[in-house]
């Protein structure tokens, strides 16, 4: 029985299972509504359908980075120095980098169709690209090694520094951009959303948020297992060293 449990739901619980089923149903619903049920936009035409995948993805990336910052702060603030906060921060940053990468790709596909260009140096886009690189750096620092608590403190400080950096980058790019006044990309991209389109967008945000919670729980537990694995390895090595000492 125990082996079955170990095989079947390692990082899962009844809660995450239920959540997973709801999420998958939501994804199916979202895809059907996004691709087929909603009407084409007056200005953007069919292109607007990318938005139902893009906007929730971008929202999620920002949410994930906010969670990273908050749990890093919690790690440093709480006297217990609980590694759970650190693992939540790490797991959330990984998911954030994933979704930011996805939304950069979907965003540039959308941009190519609407603006005729994959990329524009608009403040929001540029900040997003910087955010992406910054958190790749954050993940690199998490893998530097050392003890769990060394990793936790280093990366927590770094995550808080990133929070500081982002508004500065955004602000500077914004005023840098405002000077250029190059005919800002194609004029007529305003979306006039009808009820069904708005509903689908909200549905996307909700479905993606559920998906985020599911991924975060699993990733956080996987990190816990990996950390525990280091520790059980330690117990065994400790026992081995003690016997060694007894023998000599």
């Amino acid at each position: 029985m125990t082996t079955r449990v170990a095989r079947d739901r390692v990082t899962g619980t009844p809660f995450t299972r239920g959540l997973g089923i709801v999420t998958i149903a939501g994804i199916v619903w979202l895809v059907i509504f996004g691709l087929f049920v909603t009407p084409a936009d007056v200005n953007q035409g069919e292109t607007v359908r990318i938005m139902y995948a893009h906007v929730p993805g971008a929202w999620l990336a920002y949410l994930a980075f906010i969670v990273t910052a908050l749990s890093s702060a919690m790690y440093l603030w709480r006297r217990t120095r609980s590694l759970t906060w650190d693992r939540i921060a790490g797991a959330s940053a990984e998911i954030g980098v994933l979704f930011m990468g996805i939304s950069l790709v979907t965003g540039s596909l959308w941009g190519r169709l609407t603006w005729g260009t994959f990329w524009t140096w608009d403040a929001r886009l540029t900040t997003t690209a910087f955010l992406f690189v910054t958190y790749i750096g954050y993940l690199a620092v998490r893998n530097l090694g050392g003890t769990h608590h060394q990793r936790a403190r280093r990366s927590a400080v770094l995550a808080l520094l990133a929070v500081l950096e982002i508004p500065l980058v955004h602000f500077s790019v914004e005023i840098w951009n405002s000077l250029h006044q190059e005919a800002s990309v194609a004029g007529n991209t305003d979306v006039t959303m009808d009820g069904l389109m708005l509903f689908t967008l909200f549905l996307g945000v909700i479905v993606f948020t559920l998906m985020y919670v599911w991924m975060l729980l699993h990733r956080q537990r996987a990190l816990t297992l990996e950390d525990m694995l280091d520790d059980t390895g330690l117990d065994r090595a400790l026992a081995a060293r003690r016997t060694e000492a007894g023998v000599s």
Binding site: T2, V31, L35, E46, I50, V105, W110, L113, A222, L225
Partner: protein, 44 residues
């Protein structure tokens, strides 16, 4: 009909990467769990 290709591509990119990531997480935790007793897991 270039639009359709782009639209479908963006959906595929989104859900394929999410699927791959989730799959990798589950597989890594499964291999990590081999040496840990289920009753030691704080969430079960």
């Amino acid at each position: 009909m270039k639009d359709a290709g782009f639209i479908i591509a963006s959906y595929v990119v989104t859900f394929a990467s999410i699927g791959l990531f989730s799959f990798a997480v589950l597989r890594r935790s499964r291999s990590a769990a081999r040496d840990i007793r289920p009753e030691d897991r704080p969430w079960s």
